[in-house]
Amino acid sequence: MAQPLVKKDDDRDDEADYSPFLGIEKGAVLQEARVFNDPQLDPRRCSQVITKLLYLLNQGETFTKIEATEVFFAVTKLFQSRDIGLRRMVYLMIKELSPSADEVIIVTSSLMKDMTSKTDMYRANAIRVLCRITEGTLLTQIERYLKQAIVDKNPVVASAALVSGIHLLQTNPEIVKRWSNEVQEAVQSRAALVQFHALALLHQIRQNDRLAVSKLVTSLTKGTVRSPLAQSLLIRYTSQVIRESATNIQTGDRPFYDFLEGCLRHKAEMVIFEAARAITELSGVTTRELTPAITVLQLFLSSSKPVLRFAAVRTLNKVAMTHPMAVTNCNIDMESLISDQNRSIATLAITTLLKTGNESSVDRLMKQITNFMSDIADEFKIVVVEAIRSLCLKFPLKYRSLMNFLSNILREEGGFEYKKAIIDSIVILIRDIPEAKESGLLHLCEFIEDCEFTYLSTQILHFLGIEGPKTSDPSKYIRYIYNRVHLENATVRASAVSTLAKFGAMVDSLKPRIFVLLRRCLFDSDDEVRDRATLYLNTLGGDGSVVETDKDVKEFLFGSLDLPLVNLETSLKNYEPSEEPFDISSVPREVKTQPLAEKKGPSKKPTGLAAPPTAPVSTVDAYEKLLSSIPEFADFGKLFKSSAPVELTEAETEYSVNVVKHIFDGHVVFQYNCTNTIPEQLLEHVTVVVDASEAEEFSQVISKPLKSLPYDTPGQIFVAFEKPEGVLSVGKFSNMLRFTVKEVDPTTGEAEDDGVEDEYQLEDLEVVAADYMLKVGVSNFRNAWESMGADCERVDEYGLGPRESLAEAVSAVVNLLGLQPCEGTEVVPSNSRSHTCLLSGVYIGNVKVLVRISFGIDGPKEVAMKLAVRSEDETVSDAIHEIVASG
């Protein structure tokens, strides 16, 4: 609360030192509010009490329902007073109290009276209060007055009605939309603010009517707009119209560009900025169009006002992402902003420079940034680190100074997120720039010598285990790794043991010494560390003899666990201890696709150490259990894949049926999930009659009907087909539900004895190529692609004909193949003319498949693609091409 701030002279009155609200207390103020009920109102006293109430409310104090109601009723009494100052306070107080619906009625008559008063200012305020507290029904009563008020001569009254309209549009759109004629008239008002408010409201009313917005913009850009605020709005609406209307291809003219360009010379800074931003955001903007906007923004970079500098550098930062060359002219001005007092401005300047800088300026820039890094917060530092990472990938020759910079900041203080950003960057640089590998690894080694974050230590140890043995002198890393076994917690120690083992497996000359170190770990206090040491000593043949590590062991140590961890976890939980050991090959490999909403994280950038995304709990196990419980399917072998349920009925029909396709090597089982939604019916002997005449390679072998299907109790019907083993057979099946209906007495729930036979047509069902494909992702596509080799590679080109957009073509092909998109390549950036999509999966018969597709689109939306397939079997590579060729 308020306290005396400055020591005042002693001879002054003591009271002057203290806040007028010192010791203010809610209970006492509520008592004081009783003066509102006095027959002889004292306006001054009442105003003081209201001020105290406002103070309490503004401090976050809340009134109970009873207190609020009491105060509200008391305040309404004040309408009797003729004092103008008090009346203004009363209006504010009622809004602050926001009375409940049943209380509003007390005050509406007074406010309605004020709303039709001859005093303009009563009208304006009454409108504001009424619109704040009313509900829909009352609104229709006062609508007539509001419409009049919008075109009132007094600008305050008109603005009050228009702003009320903006608020009411959220709650009662159908009423406000009826005012558009009046609002249209108000847009022509000579009062600047009325025009501003009217324009905002009119646009909101018409926002879904493209033609109307376009007309509005056309007329206003030719007429006069009286306030910078309204002009800024107009620019925004104009760029919306530009976005929605295509450029005139023949002349290359862009509608309204001249208007925007003219606004760059407006006297209000707000308008200039708005126009400059609108120009920079035009889609496919040319350098000629961009130049005038960049020029005015450059002038603002050296403005004395921080807000203008911020606005300018923020806009230029955005431009630098798409048109870095256009911004280079501003680099000198931008460099002086690195020392700007305001850290937001400095960070934006640096990240812009990092995007636009050329190779020769890198060293100078890094020097400037080093000074700057020490006094900004972690969140800004992370932005800078990410910018440096991309700069280094752009200029790999400059890796030395950039890597040095990263290692220096790594040694300084910082939180987890910041350190992780640096580590990720170093890891990416090591992966992408071979020359940077050795120095980068040493920086990481030094970092783990004094790292407080277990997560980062273990990640680095894992990375060292993969990259360290491939360097020219692997032995120099051992000391750093083995130190961990002495100095760190159990988690890090266990990681260090695994890393040591990897060195032992890869570098034969180091093996004896590694064995010595691993043997010491056998006496660790933690059992995981001991277990790992024992395991590795055994697999590597730790009897001291120098033998070459065989392929299986390497595969065990280095091979990635190409199973979704969640699936492994579920399988392990389902495993019951018995004579039979757990078989890892029984773990399903299917990655359940995540809902799209989750995938579209706004800032999901690939990071160096990030683990592959975890899959949600799969339903595959449940299916497997269900099918294995049916003896007829026992000799079908292992379940390869189960599809997502396909609906065979419309929503809300009498019987709801969906089907799951279970694919085995030589069989396909359809599982029909049926639900009876009619309480008055019992279905018996329910079967699905499947016509496979359009699926030549399939022949029906088993049908398992359902004995009875009572109301709202789902049941399953199975139909199994035989098909040629390991072959991608496709076809179309038509389905008919056949059953006996029995009437059920709703009161007793008993069914009648006699039933009637009936049929119910279901939708057709297709088995497509994608059903034979498992979505299995790989964590590093490039590595997987290279290690697969080009032996069974098949490449061909295809024209896809005219398509709506590149994204649509990509998603069609991805869906057709039914493979797992990798590294986020299923998302096509807007406006791109070409795109590469990486897919991986497992083809029936457990054959790994990798696919790389390059798409391109030309003017009339013709899409062509180059499809490269690698797999372990050339017939499979051919099969993938066949799917595309026939799809």
Binding site: N58, R88, D120, V156, S159, L229, L233, L308, S344, I345
Partner: protein, 148 residues
């Protein structure tokens, strides 16, 4: 939308706090964030010198005036430039009401009038009036000069 308007004294105690479209559970977070922002950056700032920050898609413009600090937070159309306009109206009106950059005592003495002015400037998240002379008349329920 103008999300928040906050006025605090020099040690970070809240004098006026108004939110629009900010869920109640986030308000405390915003309050401490803004006060910390002011404590970090407003020391030594000149009267009415505007400082600016952005946090995700939200913009913050803040300044110091006498003993009080003023913060406005906005998003979408209320970007840093629009907020600068809003804060300019607020500071010039406070100066007008108090006669000078206020001490905390002076600000509290004029508290009722300042609340009325703020009510004229920002109404549930929308900028309504921008001219201090006009606002001065409006809070006395007098029509604007260009009209009377």
């Amino acid at each position: 939308m103008l999300l928040a308007l906050l006025i605090s004294n020099s040690v970070g105690n809240i004098l006026v706090e108004r939110y629009h479209g900010v869920p109640a559970e986030e308000r405390l977070h915003w309050r401490s964030f803004l006060v910390k922002l002011g404590a970090d950056n407003l020391r030594g700032a000149k009267n009415e010198e505007l400082l600016v920050a952005s946090h995700k898609s939200v913009y913050i413009v803040y300044t110091v005036l006498g003993d009080v600090s003023v913060y406005v937070v906005g998003k979408d159309e209320y970007d840093e430039l629009a907020l600068a306009e809003v804060i300019f109206v607020i500071t010039s009106t406070i100066k007008d009401v108090c006669g000078k950059p206020p001490t905390e005592r002076l600000f509290l003495d004029k508290y009722g009038r300042i609340c009325l002015c703020l009510d004229e400037i920002v109404w549930t998240g929308i900028l309504e009036n921008t001219d201090k002379d006009r606002i001065k008349r409006l809070i006395r329920l007098k029509p604007p000069t260009e009209f009377s």
